[in-house]
Amino acid sequence: MKSVFKTLTLLLILSMFIVACGGGAEEPAPEEPAAEEPMAEEPAAEEPAAEEPAAEEPMAEVITIEFWHAMGGELGEVVDELVARFNASHDDIQVNATFQGTYDDTYNALLASFDAGTEPNITQNFDLAAQTMFDTGRLVPAYSFDDFDPNVFVPAVRDYYSDENGMVGMAFNSSTPIMYYNADMFAELGIDPPGLDTTFSDMIAKCDEIQAAGVEYCITFGQVGWYFEQILANSGGLYFNNNNGRTGRATEAVFNEGQGVEVFTFLSGLIADGYAPNVGKTWTDTDAVFQAGQAAMIFDSTSGALGMQEGADFEVATTYIPHSDSSDRNGVIIGGAALWLIDSGDDAVNQAAWEVMNFLAQPEQQVTWHSGTGYFPVRVDMDDNPDLQDFWAENPNFRTAIEQLASTNTTMADGSPNYAVLGGKAGPFPAIRQFIVDAYSRVLDDGMSPQEALDEAAEKANQELADYNAFFE
């Protein structure tokens, strides 16, 4: 008996070492996704080969395009539908779409694939990662293709994913934040719903009115970095120096000055003063608060408009997000994600991958995508599309969302670009966003002032920027 336990204990000790190494073992992730990849590739390589020879002598070789995306669940089904449509209409190019998990998972798999030489032809990555994607040096920009027409894209979308020469990545799933409100509640209480152009003071006044009428909370929103970024842009404030990192590499965060402080004071104040519940960092937990009628309004993504109405037993209406008292309404930054064309080293393959991206940007696909997922169409010529007219008639909230983007002030009075609404661009932006999340806790838990919390966040952000920029010295 004793020896049995001794061996058992020894085994346990050994397994503890393995626990300890577990963290380390995860580090060289290259091995793992690389090992998975051939599995994804094989069926694709076989499929066309099995079908083609039966038709006639294979004159032109079929090019297989590997497409990695982060659209799970219902979104993924729409992606599959679009890919099937492409494959059905193209004999010489076949797309093999693979769901890779979250944006982070997809990006980590991409990094690993660079090392292993098994990179996809097209990959999806989210807005904040734009600079990092540029810096991989592995992209073929959209503007390098002859049939690329920058004028078909919504300027805000095009400019967001552009470098100094033009559009690099192709916006795929685009969304912006919007303010939803419980229209029935406002009608019952006899309170006017918020207008399209709302300042912070207007909001607070409205909140006082709503809560005086007995509603638990005025508004609800998760403590993610996004709403700060967007309301900062709407107030004309910059996130990074060098015009938000758009006219040179960002070297400093400037969100702790001027508008940034006003915006963060407003957002953290909504929670601190009891206008909004403290639901922590969440994208989804706020829906239940709003749908249960516990809050009259909610900041959320436009892409959730379908679900927001479906989950509520009242009429959900929408309006633009607010801006600071000391600014005019500027508009919103396009959010979401883009498709990036990874250089395969073979022009024919790159051209084929571009055809896939171009196909997805065509009106027909954009209609399917928008009505199936709620993500924006990225083209300027969609307004008169009869299918979309019908869709918008049924879902007026999308109309508000598109108008909020369309009315975004992308050019200043002097003709220069409005860098605030172009959004920040910096390599470590995803990491820096987390510092704003932490800043909420610094104010709400640790009693810091918004200014102090932002100063601390900016200091950490500057360190990240310095570390990142060191790779280019």
Binding site: A25, N108, K281, D438, Y440
Partner: protein, 315 residues
């Protein structure tokens, strides 16, 4: 290993020709290594090589966009010791383990004792209720408790409001988030702990109890002087398993809090994952953390084995 040794001894004991003897020795050693080979290959690929490469990675700053890295020597380590967030994550891990392991084990042993004799007429249904969390994954636990803890529409605060208590912000305040995650983890591990403890109790020879009864020992005396000492090997086993599990806890944290608010639930394991894979990946920095974790656990296992191993009462 012990197999091959005994075979060597067996072959040595046999009177055989001398030139054959050496060959036999080599052969049986080879045979032994052959048996070890499959696990050695797997361990080499997934454990030993990563141990080495992760050390190399920890001496570099790797570009988040791949393809570039800067050799920084031990800068990652010096930064770690100056990084309040990392030091905080060590503290969180210790607090978490100190809460989950004793809390979970005391509860489990109490339940196992209750199930084994005072309440041994409980139906299979009652036992099922206690054991059922075993089959639930940590991710599901996370989702379940997210709803239970929700500050506005959660069940827990609703129940508390029925008795006139205003519930705290379970997941979104620094004071409560760690406690909330602990409770979720204790609940998930309870079924496993109770089963093992119950099996240990049922293994104890009933003659001890009979003798004690004859001597006039009451229930408490029997638990204190018979059950607990004879259960100590099982408890030691559970103790180690629970420590491993709570240092490894990931699913609940990832789903309930993502390490927040303000790092209140950011354990060192979660911190490694976060730095390596979330948002902007900092693999060198994460590797340095992984290496420190490796050293910390190495020391801890050694102390644990030295300290507690001897106090266990084997039958």
């Amino acid at each position: 290993m012990s197999q091959s040794i005994s075979m060597q001894e067996a072959s040595q004991a046999q009177p055989a020709k001398t030139y054959n003897k050496n060959w036999q020795k080599v052969k049986s050693a080879l045979e032994g290594y052959l048996y070890l080979l499959p696990s050695l290959i797997i361990l080499t690929i997934f454990v030993f090589i990563p141990i080495v490469t992760s050390f190399q990675l920890s001496l570099t700053r790797i570009a988040p966009f791949g393809g570039k890295s800067i050799d920084v020597g031990f800068e990652n380590y010096t930064r770690l010791f100056a990084d309040p967030e990392y030091l905080n994550s060590l503290k969180v891990s210790v607090l978490f383990t100190l809460g989950v392991v004793p809390g979970g084990l005391i509860l489990a042993v109490a339940m196992a004792i209750a199930l084994s004799y005072p309440l041994n007429h409980l139906s299979w249904f009652h036992r099922l209720l206690i054991f059922v969390p075993i089959v639930i994954s940590s991710a599901v636990t996370g989702v379940l408790f997210r709803w239970i803890y929700h500050p506005v529409v959660g069940y827990l605060n609703y129940l508390l409001s029925l008795i006139g208590v205003e519930g705290p912000l379970w997941l979104s305040s620094k004071d409560w988030a760690l406690v909330a995650v602990m409770l979720a983890v204790i609940w998930r591990q309870l079924g496993f702990n109770v089963i093992i403890a119950l099996a240990g109790i049922q293994n104890i020879d009933s003659t001890y109890y009979e003798a004690a009864k004859v001597d006039g020992a009451n229930l408490w005396h029997r638990i204190r002087h018979i059950t607990l000492p004879l259960l100590s090997p099982t408890l030691f086993f559970l103790f180690i398993i629970n420590i491993i599990n709570s240092l490894q806890v990931f699913g609940e944290i990832n789903i309930l809090t993502e390490g927040g608010p303000g790092g209140a639930t950011n354990t060192f394991l979660y911190s490694i994952y976060y730095d390596a894979f979330v948002g902007t990946p900092f693999r060198g920095y994460a590797s340095a953390q992984a290496y420190l974790l490796f050293i910390i656990i190495l020391i801890m296992s050694f102390l644990q084995f030295k300290g507690f191993g001897k106090k266990v009462h084997y039958q």
